[in-house]
C-alpha cells in the first residue's frame, strides 16, 4: 500500500476450483461481491487480512490472495487502479456473448469515459 495515500483496502483472490474473483467478506467467507468485502482501514487491519489470505491459500480455498486499494464513494467501494476495476466488473466487452451476465460492480467504461454502473 502507498504510505501517503489515505486509501483503504480489501482482500481479493481467485477461487481455487473455478478461478472466479472473490473477496473476503464480513463473515470471513470468500464472496464474489466487492460490496460485501471487509475493509482494512489501517496497516494493522491490512496485515491481518493478508495473514488470513495466506492461511486460506495454504488451505486451498483460494489462489494468489492480495490486497486491493479502494476508495469509498457514496457508500460504495471502488478500486483505485483500472486493472482492479476491470477485475471487479468483468470484461467490458461481452454484451453480445450468449449467456454472459456481467457481475454487479462499478467500472470505468472506456466507451463512455466515465464511471458507469454495470447492470
Amino acid at each position: 500500500m502507498s504510505k501517503s495515500a489515505p486509501h483503504i483496502s480489501v482482500l481479493t483472490a481467485n477461487r481455487l476450483d473455478d478461478g472466479i474473483v472473490v473477496f473476503l467478506d464480513f463473515e470471513g467467507a470468500w464472496n464474489e461481491s466487492l460490496a460485501e468485502a471487509v475493509v482494512a482501514r489501517d496497516p494493522g487491519e491490512a496485515r491481518a487480512l493478508e495473514d488470513r489470505g495466506a492461511y486460506d491459500a495454504a488451505h486451498n480455498l483460494v489462489v494468489e490472495p492480495y490486497l486491493v486499494e479502494v476508495r469509498e464513494e457514496a457508500g460504495r467501494l471502488i478500486p483505485i487502479r483500472t486493472r482492479e476495476r476491470v477485475r471487479v466488473s468483468g470484461p467490458s466487452i461481452l454484451d453480445d456473448v450468449p449467456g454472459y451476465s456481467p457481475p454487479l460492480a462499478a467500472a470505468a467504461h472506456p466507451a463512455s469515459g466515465q464511471l458507469v454502473e454495470a447492470a
Binding site: 481467485n14 481455487l16 476450483d17 473455478d18 478461478g19 472466479i20 474473483v21 491459500a57 495454504a58 488451505h59 486451498n60 489462489v63 494468489e64 483505485i80 487502479r81 483500472t82 486493472r83 476491470v86 477485475r87 468483468g90 470484461p91 467490458s92 466487452i93 461481452l94 453480445d96 456473448v97 450468449p98 449467456g99 454472459y100 472506456p110 466507451a111 469515459g113
Partner: protein, 546 residues
C-alpha cells in the same frame, strides 16, 4: 492433414491421465499452488484476471471440421459459449473451471488435440503460413516441416526447460504471412537453383519489451539437415541464454549481445558435431509426413466461374476476402473474425459449428487459423463462393475487410489478461466503428494493438501500432507507426506522448486522414507513404491540438 499414430495417441492419453491426477491432488490440497503452477502451465492452463484460461494448440493453424466442432462443443459445455483465436494460431477459452479441465483435455484428445507446450519455457506451437498447401505463390507446402518440428520438439528432454519460451514459424512463400522475422526461429523454404528445397534460417527475432528483427544465419539449409541444425541452435541458446534475468532470457538478446556472426559460428561448430547423426531426416520420412498433407482430390474446373446473382456486397467480399489458389477453379476464403465493432478473434460456438459445416461441404474438411486472428477455408470452388458468402452472412461473419483498417489484431488485454496494463479489445472495437465507412477508400492498412509490453498484439509490427500502458493507475496508450511483420519486416517507432482511451482513437483517425491527404495516389500503400513522407506530418497532425 496429419493424423495421430499410435505413439501420438498414447502419449496424449497418458498426459491427460497424468494431469487429471495432478488436478485432483491440487483440489484436495495434496499439491500447493507453487507445486501445481508449473504443472498446469505445461498443460496450457493459466490463471488470468477473472478465471482460469486454457490455451489449446492448433499446430500450424490447421483444423478439421471435426476438431472445430469439438471446440464449439467445449465452448458450450465448459465455457461461456465463445472461443478466442490468438496471434499464435491457438485457441483460448477464458472461463473453464479447473476441475473441468481434465475432461476438456480428454475431449480434445478424442479429436487429436491437446494443450501441451502452449505455455512454459519450451518450444511452443509451431506456426505457419495460413495459406500453406493452397496458395499459388509457395514453392512447397511448409506444414510437413512444421509437423516434423512439432514431433521433434514435443517433450524434447533437452529443451523442456529453456531459458525462456521459444517460437518457431515456417513459410514457403516469398510473401511472408507468418511473420517469421519476429520469431525466435523463422524458416523460409525456398527452391534452390539446383531444384532442391532449402531453408533460409532466421534467428533471434521477437517483439516484447525489446523488439528485434531476426538475423539470417544460413540461406541454404538442406531439408535433411533441418532438425540437426535446429538442435544446434537450441543447444547454443540453452547453454548461453541468460537465466538470471527474465527480460534478457530470449534468444534475441543472446544473438544481439554476441552478434549474429558469432552466434552463427557457434551453431556451425555444434552442428558439425551432430550433423549426419540420428537427427538427419531421411527422404522416406519426409515423404511419409508429406503424404499426410497431400493435396485434396481437386476437380478439374475452369479457372473462372460465373459466381452468382448481382450483389455489390458480395463483389466487395470476393475482392477482399478471396485469394488466388494454386488449383484452377478454386479460391482461398478468409473468414473475417472482425465484424465491425466486434471482438477481434472471437467466434461463438454456433459460428464455429457453422464454419465446420462450411468446411466439410466446401473446403475438403479443412479450416486454417491465421496469426491475424481470422479463419480461412483453404480450398473453395469458385462456383461455391456465393453459397459460402451467404452462409457466412447468416452467421455475421461476411465482413469484406481482410487486410483493411478494421481487420485489427488485438490481444485479450486487460479485459482478460493478468499481465495486461490496459484494454485492447474496446480500443479495437472503437477504431473499427470509427473507420468502417472509409475502409475501402483507405485500402490495406494493418492496425495491431497490445495491452502491455509483452506485445501479444504485435504492435511493434503494425503499420499503426498501439501499446497500452498504465499511467498513474489509469489506461494510457502509446502510438507507433511504420512497422511490418511481412517480408519487408520493420519495427514501428513511437510517435511521442501517449493518449487516453478516447485520445488514442482520435489519434489513429488523424494518422489515417493524414495518409489519405498526403498519399501520392490511392495506390500508394501506407508504409510507402510513411517512408516517403517520414513521421513529421503524422506527428504534426496528431499533436496539433495537444
Amino acid at each position: 492433414m496429419y493424423r495421430y499414430d499410435e505413439f501420438d495417441a498414447e502419449f496424449v492419453r497418458q498426459r491427460v491421465a497424468q494431469f487429471r491426477d495432478q488436478v485432483g491432488r491440487r483440489l484436495t490440497g495434496e499439491l500447493t499452488e507453487d507445486e501445481f503452477k508449473p504443472l498446469r502451465l505445461m498443460n496450457g492452463v493459466y490463471l488470468q484476471l477473472h478465471a482460469y484460461m486454457l490455451r489449446i494448440a492448433i499446430p500450424y493453424g490447421t483444423l478439421s471440421s471435426r476438431q472445430l466442432r469439438k471446440l464449439a462443443h467445449i465452448a458450450r459445455a465448459y465455457d461461456r459459449g465463445t472461443g478466442h483465436f490468438t496471434t499464435r494460431q491457438n485457441l483460448q477459452f477464458n472461463w473453464p473451471k479447473l476441475s473441468d479441465i481434465p475432461d476438456i483435455l480428454e475431449e480434445l484428445a478424442e479429436v487429436e488435440m491437446h494443450a501441451i507446450q502452449t505455455s512454459g519455457n519450451c518450444i511452443r506451437n509451431v506456426t505457419a503460413d495460413h495459406f500453406a498447401g493452397a496458395t499459388a505463390d509457395e514453392v512447397a507446402d511448409p506444414r510437413p516441416y512444421a509437423e516434423i518440428i512439432r514431433q521433434w520438439s514435443s517433450l524434447h528432454p533437452e529443451f523442456s526447460f529453456l531459458p525462456r519460451k521459444f517460437k518457431v514459424a515456417v513459410t514457403a512463400s516469398p510473401r511472408d504471412r507468418a511473420a517469421i522475422q519476429v520469431h525466435d526461429i523463422g524458416l523460409h523454404l525456398k527452391r534452390h537453383a539446383d531444384g532442391s528445397l532449402r531453408f533460409a534460417v532466421y534467428v533471434g527475432g521477437g517483439q516484447g519489451r525489446t523488439p528485434i528483427l531476426a538475423k539470417l544465419i544460413r540461406d541454404d539449409l538442406h531439408e535433411q539437415d533441418l532438425l540437426s541444425y535446429l538442435e544446434a541452435i537450441l543447444r547454443v541458446y540453452n547453454l548461453h541464454g541468460r537465466r538470471d534475468n527474465i527480460y534478457k532470457a530470449r534468444i534475441k538478446i543472446l544473438v544481439h549481445e554476441i552478434g549474429a556472426d558469432a552466434f552463427a559460428r557457434q551453431v556451425e561448430e555444434e552442428w558439425q558435431r551432430i550433423r549426419g547423426g540420428a537427427l538427419e531426416l531421411p527422404q522416406v520420412e519426409i515423404a511419409r509426413i508429406d503424404a499426410y498433407f497431400a493435396p485434396p482430390a481437386f476437380e478439374r474446373r475452369p479457372a473462372k466461374a460465373t459466381l452468382r446473382a448481382p450483389d455489390r456486397a458480395f463483389d466487395r467480399w470476393v475482392t477482399r476476402n478471396t485469394h488466388a489458389h494454386k488449383q484452377p477453379g478454386y479460391a482461398m476464403v478468409t473468414i473475417s473474425l472482425k465484424p465491425i465493432g466486434g471482438i477481434p478473434g472471437d467466434a461463438s460456438a454456433d459460428q464455429m459449428d457453422a464454419i465446420a459445416d462450411l468446411a466439410q461441404q466446401h473446403s475438403f474438411d479443412e479450416i486454417r487459423v491465421t496469426h491475424e486472428q481470422n479463419l480461412v477455408l483453404p480450398h473453395v470452388r469458385l462456383a461455391d463462393l456465393w453459397e459460402v458468402y451467404r452462409a457466412l452472412k447468416g452467421i455475421g461473419l461476411a465482413e469484406a475487410n481482410a487486410g483493411l483498417v478494421t481487420d485489427i489484431i488485438a490481444c485479450p488485454g486487460l479485459d482478460y489478461c493478468a499481465l495486461a496494463n490496459a484494454r485492447s479489445i474496446p480500443i479495437a472495437q472503437r477504431i473499427s466503428e470509427r473507420l468502417a465507412a472509409r475502409q475501402d477508400a483507405i485500402g490495406d492498412l494493418k492496425i495491431k494493438i497490445s495491452g502491455c509490453i509483452n506485445a501479444c498484439g504485435h504492435h511493434h509490427v503494425g503499420h499503426i501500432g498501439i501499446l497500452g500502458v498504465e499511467k498513474r493507475g489509469e489506461e494510457h496508450y502509446q502510438l507507433l507507426l511504420g512497422g511490418s511483420g511481412a517480408e519487408d519486416a520493420a519495427l514501428a517507432a513511437i510517435t511521442g506522448p501517449g493518449f487516453g482511451p478516447d485520445g488514442i482513437v482520435d489519434a489513429v483517425e488523424k494518422v489515417v486522414e493524414t495518409y489519405l491527404d498526403l498519399r501520392s495516389s490511392a495506390q500508394e500503400p501506407f508504409l510507402a507513404a510513411y517512408a516517403r513522407l517520414g513521421a513529421a506530418p503524422f506527428k504534426d497532425a496528431i499533436y496539433a491540438a495537444t
